[in-house]
Every structure is written in structure tokens, then in C-alpha cells.
């Protein structure tokens, strides 16, 4: 930072601090003067919205933690106390509970945005990978958070998901006992999930910092997917995009507020208002909506694969499902190397654009399948959609550049903008 140029601040206090620790200069360089492509559309708001949601979750979470009791005897009641007795507790909890959903909506849009405009390609591969790490950490955090209120879905969701690890050959059961700290999901499990649920958001914060740092090295991508070539292609981040982000945030907050105040339990499962009962499984276990596509992939693997002509099971349907589910997320790490087309933006890739929308439709279909009981038609649809999910990544994306005739790229962002693109 010492090599960075310092700004002359008029305020003597800021100037004094900046001379000794140039935080303000750094902020100015990275968030005010920062040259940003001038052609962003509203999809570029979702990064800032993600950060906003992370902060919202941490702030509301810290306050919930003041009133929450992580013990199987008290957890459910302490959450009910937050809802009924703690001043404004209902609001803090509804923000946190629905905030998790909002966080995932925003991050999923952010990810699909990256896929559409090829933001994962050179030179932003590491930026993308850090993003996938954030997604994984968010999934772990949300999963453990959902266990905390200790309702029926908390308990049985935790049971089903931790049991996935028992599919690992040889050491599976040992791992599950270790995860539980006992012989079933119980008090030790609740306690460690609480500790980790408190910790992981701060890890996410750290990784987000690296994510943004990497962004500020490569610079932002843009809807045309072409590089910034001259200062004419950019505008300073402030006031242009600070203003646009504030406007986007306002719209988003209206949506968020409608959910919090009018539909606070719409996205949740009513069964989670029944205290956890280890003796009775609810008839239909479903995870929160943001896990449904992955849950559908997990359940799509319904046959055992045998060593030919024997009864020896090579991959049980249980293990197969687990491999597919983790594979579905892990594949995202390799996206920059699976899609080798030199053109980033789908705007100039007519074929990719079609396949992108089919992929979006597939993901939504998987989400629907995940919410259905696993019988009849949804099972078959889920299997087709799962197969397509993998075909998209492993076959379509690598093959496309061979067959696709991309459209001519504009010479520069400013030229395209002047032509009204």
C-alpha cells in the first residue's frame, strides 16, 4: 500500500490518519476512482447485494445469538421466546430466516450472470473459483443454521444430510459418528453446528475480501464481454455505480420487506414449528428451496451398479447419489476450463445463449423435482434433468466452440455504447 498514490484529503483528521495508514486513499482508489466499464446492466448489482446480505446476516445473527440457547432442551423454546417475548425479536429472526433465502436468490442470480457473460474466463478464473468456495461455505452455513431452531425439519434434515457421509466406503460410519459427536444427531451435534454457524460467515467474509481483491486486479467484466481498451470505456465507480447500486438496493429492499412483513413463513416449512422428535420422521422431508436442485440430483441415482455378472455392489445407489450431488457443485470449479470459447459474452454466442437458457430451465426443473415426493413421474424427470446437467458441463460446453459461429465483436465498449448496444 505504501507504493500506492495518496489522495490529498481536506479534512485534517482524515489527512493525518491517511498519512500514517493510507486506508482512505485505498478506499478512494478501489471504490471511488476505480475505473469501471460504462455499460453495466442491472445484473451487475447482484455482487453488491450479496455483500449487503452477508453483512445483514452477520448483524442479525449476532443479535439472535444473544437470545438463542444451543441445547436440545431449550433451543426450540428459546427461538419461540425470540418470536414472542424478546423486544423486536420477531423482526430480527424474520430478517435472518428470510435473509438466508434472499442471500441465495441474490447469489444464484450473480452466478448465472457470470455464466451468461462468461465472467469466469481468463483473466478471472481465480475470481470465479473464490466465488464457488463462497457458495460452498454458504451452503454449509445455511445448512447448520437451519438445524439451530431444532424443529422437525431441522432434526431430520440434519439426519439425512449427515447420513450422506455414511455412503463413503469403509470409513463412512466413523465419519458420521465423528460429525455427530454421538450415535445420532443430538446435543453435541447442535452445539458444534452452532459454533460453526457462528464462525463460517466470518470465513465467508474473508474469502469475499479475496474475491473482491481479485476483481480489482482483473477489473470487472461487462455485458459485451470485451476488454476495457481506453479510459473512454470506463466511468469512475463513484458516483456512477454507487448511485446505481443504491437504486438497485432500494428495489431489492422493497422485495425483501414484502417477504419479511407479509410472507415471513412462505419460504419455510411449517413442520419446523414442531419441536424435533427423534422417534418420528415427518412423512415428507424437504430441504430449504435453495438446496432443492442438489437434493433432486442426490435422489436421481436409484440403481446399484454391480461388478458385471456378480452380486458385488460397486457403487450403491446411495454412494452414487452422493457422488453426483457433490460432483454437481464441484464441476463449477472447472467451468473456466470446460468452456474454451474465446468469446466471453453470450450476446455474441448464438448457440451458447440457447444452451444457457436450457441449463437455467434444467436447474429450475431440478428444483421442482427436489420438492416432490420421490415417486412416479418426478423421478424420471429428475433423472433426465440430472443427466442433462452433467451433459451441459461435460459435453456441450467443451464441444460448442467447434460448431459455434460467434458474432463479430465490437471494437470497443465506448463504440458499442454509442451505437446503442
Amino acid at each position: 500500500m505504501a507504493q500506492g498514490e495518496r489522495v490529498n484529503f481536506k479534512n485534517p483528521v482524515i489527512c493525518w490518519i491517511d498519512e500514517r495508514l493510507p486506508l482512505f486513499s485505498m478506499m478512494h482508489k478501489e471504490y471511488a476512482a476505480f475505473p469501471t466499464p460504462k455499460n453495466f446492466n442491472y445484473l451487475w448489482n447482484f455482487g453488491a447485494l450479496s455483500l449487503f446480505m452477508l453483512v445483514t446476516m452477520i448483524v442479525t445473527g449476532v443479535f439472535l445469538a444473544m437470545y438463542y440457547t444451543p441445547s436440545t432442551d431449550h433451543a426450540f423454546n428459546s427461538v419461540e421466546r425470540i418470536m414472542r417475548d424478546v423486544n423486536w425479536g420477531w423482526l430480527i429472526r424474520y430478517i435472518h430466516m428470510n435473509g438466508a433465502s434472499m442471500f441465495f436468490i441474490v447469489v444464484y442470480v450473480h452466478i448465472f450472470r457470470g455464466m451468461y457473460y462468461g465472467s469466469y474466463k481468463y483473466p478471472r478464473e481465480l475470481l470465479w473459483i473464490l466465488g464457488v468456495i463462497i457458495l460452498l461455505l454458504m451452503m454449509a452455513t445455511a445448512f447448520m443454521g437451519y438445524v439451530l431452531p431444532w424443529g422437525q425439519m431441522s432434526f431430520w434434515g440434519a439426519t439425512v444430510i449427515t447420513n450422506l457421509f455414511s455412503a463413503i466406503p469403509l470409513v463412512g460410519n466413523k465419519i458420521v459418528t465423528w460429525l455427530w459427536g454421538g450415535f445420532s444427531v443430538d446435543n453435541p451435534t447442535l452445539n458444534r453446528f452452532y459454533a460453526l454457524h457462528y464462525l463460517l460467515p466470518f470465513v465467508i467474509f474473508g474469502v469475499s475480501f479475496l474475491h473482491v481483491a481479485a476483481l480489482h486486479i482483473s477489473g470487472s467484466n461487462n455485458p459485451l464481454g470485451i476488454d476495457v481498451k481506453s479510459p473512454k470505456d470506463t466511468v469512475p465507480f463513484h458516483p456512477y455505480y454507487t448511485a446505481k447500486d443504491c437504486f438497485g438496493l432500494t428495489i431489492f429492499l422493497i422485495f425483501f420487506a414484502v417477504i419479511i412483513f407479509f410472507l415471513p413463513n412462505y419460504l419455510g416449512d411449517p413442520d419446523n414449528y414442531i419441536p424435533a422428535n427423534p422417534m418420528v420422521t415427518p412423512t415428507h422431508i424437504v430441504p430449504e428451496w435453495y438446496f432443492l436442485p442438489f437434493y433432486a440430483i442426490l435422489r436421481s441415482f436409484t440403481i446399484d451398479i454391480h461388478i458385471p455378472f456378480t452380486h458385488v455392489v460397486l457403487i450403491s445407489s446411495k454412494l452414487g447419489g452422493v457422488i453426483l450431488m457433490f460432483g454437481a457443485v464441484l464441476l463449477m470449479f472447472f467451468l473456466p476450463w470446460l468452456d474454451r470459447s474465446p468469446v466471453r459474452s453470450a450476446v455474441f454466442r448464438p448457440l451458447y445463449r440457447k444452451f444457457f437458457w436450457i441449463f437455467v430451465a434444467t436447474s429450475i426443473t431440478l428444483g421442482w423435482v427436489g420438492s416432490r415426493p420421490p415417486e412416479g413421474l418426478p423421478v424420471i424427470i429428475g433423472q433426465i434433468a440430472t443427466a442433462y446437467y452433467f451433459v451441459h458441463f461435460l459435453i456441450i460446453l467443451p464441444m460448442l466452440p467447434k460448431y459455434e459461429k460467434t458474432l463479430p465483436l465490437p471494437n470497443s465498449i465506448s463504440e458499442a455504447v454509442l451505437k446503442g448496444r
Binding site: N163, S184, P188, K318
Partner: protein
């Protein structure tokens, strides 16, 4: 230092230093390696108790046995008790159920095991008690509690237990017959302490 400022001695000196550097660098490599190895060992030694602390604690292990009175369970009835935080299914089976379980050919089973082996611990005073089937009531697929303990519950196609989560079906010996579960319902360690009492765990 008494080095004559001649070019030769400079060269020697340079040589000498180079030699020293080589020595130094191999020594340094060794030190780096040794320090690295120590740090690695140290990390493992530190991580071990932390990771191990997450395994079941002594009190959790101490709660690991449950005593059950079976005298009230009539033929054809079932009882669910809690052992290690999990349901244990105890069933006083009818002769028909036992016969049905014993008639199944091993080839039909996904996880082959005879009914005799599954109730091997049900004996007291030299007398076999094959009617008593004792199993952990946790589906071996993903851990749901199968239905079938109550007469009004669904029992699946094999007169046993039916898991509502993903449709696994267990027979009257608790063996997996259909659906995604890979294994038979687990038999916990148990023994009869007298003709009507068992100790699980």
C-alpha cells in the same frame, strides 16, 4: 583483515565464498526441511486432540446401555425404545412372520443374512427365543425412522417395515428387500438378562 588487494586473492575469495554459499545453501536446505518437518509434525500433533474432541465424549459413551422390560409385549406387538438417542424396534413376532422370514431364499436378498443369524442373541437359559426381533429403527439409507411398529402403519410388501422417506421396504426379519437402502436394519448388541428383560448396548 589482511587481504592483499590483488585480483588473484579476490578471485580466491570469491571462489571461497561461492564454496561457502554452496555449503550454506545445502545446510540451509536441510534446516528448512527439518523445520518444515517439525512444523508439520507439530500441526498434526496439535490437530489430533482437536479433531478427536469431536468424537463421542465419555458421558455420551456411558449412556450407551438401555434396559427394557418385555413382559407387556404380547405376540404380534411391537415396542419402540430409545437407545443412544435412536429408536430401537423390538417385536414379538408371530409364528407366521418367522416362517415367512425363514422361507426366503438367500438369492432374493440384497444384503444376504439368515433370519436365524438376526435373532441369534435372542436366547435365555439355553432356550432360543426367535420371536424377539431387536433392531435399530433407523433406515440404512439416510436415517429416517421406518413405519411398521403400529398395526395401523404401512408394513410394505414384505410384512415388515416401510420407510416413508424414499420408499425402502424391510421384511419380517428387518432385511432390506426393495428401495434404495443398501443394508438390513442394524442389530444392536443386546442380551436377555432374564426371560422377560433385555439389556441393549
Amino acid at each position: 583483515m589482511a587481504h592483499p588487494p590483488s585480483s588473484t586473492s579476490d578471485q580466491t575469495c570469491g571462489h571461497c565464498q561461492q564454496g561457502d554459499e554452496e555449503n550454506d545453501s545445502s545446510r540451509r536446505d536441510f534446516l528448512t526441511l527439518a523445520a518444515g518437518a517439525m512444523a508439520g509434525v507439530g500441526t498434526i500433533v496439535t490437530a489430533y486432540p482437536l479433531i478427536q474432541s469431536m468424537n463421542p465424549a465419555a458421558d455420551v459413551l456411558a449412556m450407551a446401555t438401555t434396559e427394557v422390560d418385555l413382559s407387556a409385549v404380547k405376540e404380534g406387538q411391537s415396542l419402540t425404545v430409545v437407545w443412544r438417542g435412536k429408536p430401537v424396534f423390538i417385536r414379538n413376532r408371530t409364528q407366521a412372520e418367522i416362517d415367512e422370514a425363514r422361507a426366503v431364499p438367500m438369492n432374493d436378498l440384497k444384503d444376504p443374512q439368515t433370519d436365524q443369524a438376526r435373532v441369534a442373541n435372542s436366547k435365555f437359559g439355553g432356550k432360543d427365543l426367535p420371536e424377539w426381533l431387536v433392531m435399530v429403527g433407523v433406515c440404512t439409507h439416510l436415517g429416517c425412522v421406518p413405519l411398521g411398529q403400529k398395526p395401523t402403519d404401512p408394513h410394505g410388501e414384505f410384512d415388515g417395515w416401510f420407510c416413508p422417506c424414499h420408499g425402502s421396504q424391510y421384511d419380517s426379519s428387518g432385511r432390506i428387500r426393495k428401495g434404495p437402502a443398501p443394508k438390513n436394519l442394524e442389530i444392536p448388541p443386546y442380551q436377555f438378562t432374564d426371560a422377560t428383560h433385555i439389556k441393549i448396548g
